[in-house]
């Protein structure tokens, strides 16, 4: 039996994932409308989620935010959802952090991230993978 190391060549990898029911997002929009949108998503994200599959796209972005929170592995830290933004690089979703979360990511040694989103009729999901420098500051491993 072996216990695999938490880091390789001085680098650590973190993964976060989340799944969100499309219906839940639909219900939130119906109940709280713009307040829900403005509390959770950036203006750019709202703009990216126009048109067909709008709710599915919003749900996938919410899942991405939760996936990022899990990757931080600090459950007692405040997570302003709009400081985690999903942007687009051509067909690929990208992750952008701002404010206190960007500082925290720097402190944890985040060097690179990769994000994947998907959805079906009922659920949306996201997986985020983060590469961290091994010698960086605190944070759960």
């Amino acid at each position: 039996m072996i216990t695999l190391p938490g880091e390789v060549y001085g680098y650590r990898v973190r993964v976060g994932c989340d799944v969100v029911a499309i219906e839940d997002v639909q219900d939130s929009l119906a109940a709280f409308g713009d307040r829900y949108l403005r509390k959770v998503f950036t203006a750019s994200e709202i703009n990216d989620c126009q048109g067909r599959n709008r709710v599915q796209r919003l749900a996938a972005r919410f899942a991405a935010k939760e996936a990022v929170i899990k990757a931080f592995a600090e459950p007692d830290m405040p997570f302003p959802l709009r400081e985690i933004e999903v942007t687009r690089d051509g067909p690929l979703p990208r992750l952008r952090l701002s404010g206190a979360l960007a500082e925290r990511a720097q402190h944890q040694g985040w060097l690179s991230s990769s994000l994947s989103l998907s959805h079906a009729d009922c659920h949306a999901m996201a997986v985020v993978l983060v590469v961290c420098g091994g010698n960086a500051g605190a944070g759960a491993r």
């Binding site: 989340d18 969100v20 029911a21 839940d24 997002v25 219900d27 939130s28 109940a31 709280f32 307040r35 829900y36 509390k39 959770v40 919410f62 939760e66 929170i69 459950p75 007692d76 830290m77 405040p78 997570f79 302003p80 959802l81 206190a100």
Partner: protein, 100 residues
């Protein structure tokens, strides 16, 4: 006399906390999508264990803002805030008091 006043103050505070918790239970029942009736849940019970999701906690927060006419500042937007009725109550109480 001082002890009597202190007892009265403590009773009144307990009553206010209880009223706030009742309102929180109603909000959880309407928006929490939990697997149990939150009106029958202990105030220290782990709400995530009882089916509260991260997404539902956003709805609960928005509904609490409406119910108490408050706004949750970013520094309290953490998992532990919504982990129990007791925790939600403490945050709501402090936000309500800060407006008074």
């Amino acid at each position: 006399m001082a002890r009597l006043l202190a007892n009265r103050f403590a009773k009144r505070q307990k009553c206010e906390v209880s009223v706030i918790q009742d309102q929180i239970r109603e909000v959880l029942a309407a928006h929490g999508r939990m697997t149990v009736d939150p009106r029958e849940v202990d105030d220290q019970a782990d709400l995530y264990e009882l089916g509260l999701t991260s997404h539902a906690s956003v709805d609960v927060m928005l509904a609490l803002e409406d119910e108490f006419d408050i706004e949750f500042p970013e520094e309290v937007l953490k998992k532990s805030t919504f982990a129990s009725i007791h925790n939600i109550g403490q945050v709501v109480e402090s936000l309500v008091k800060s407006l008074a």
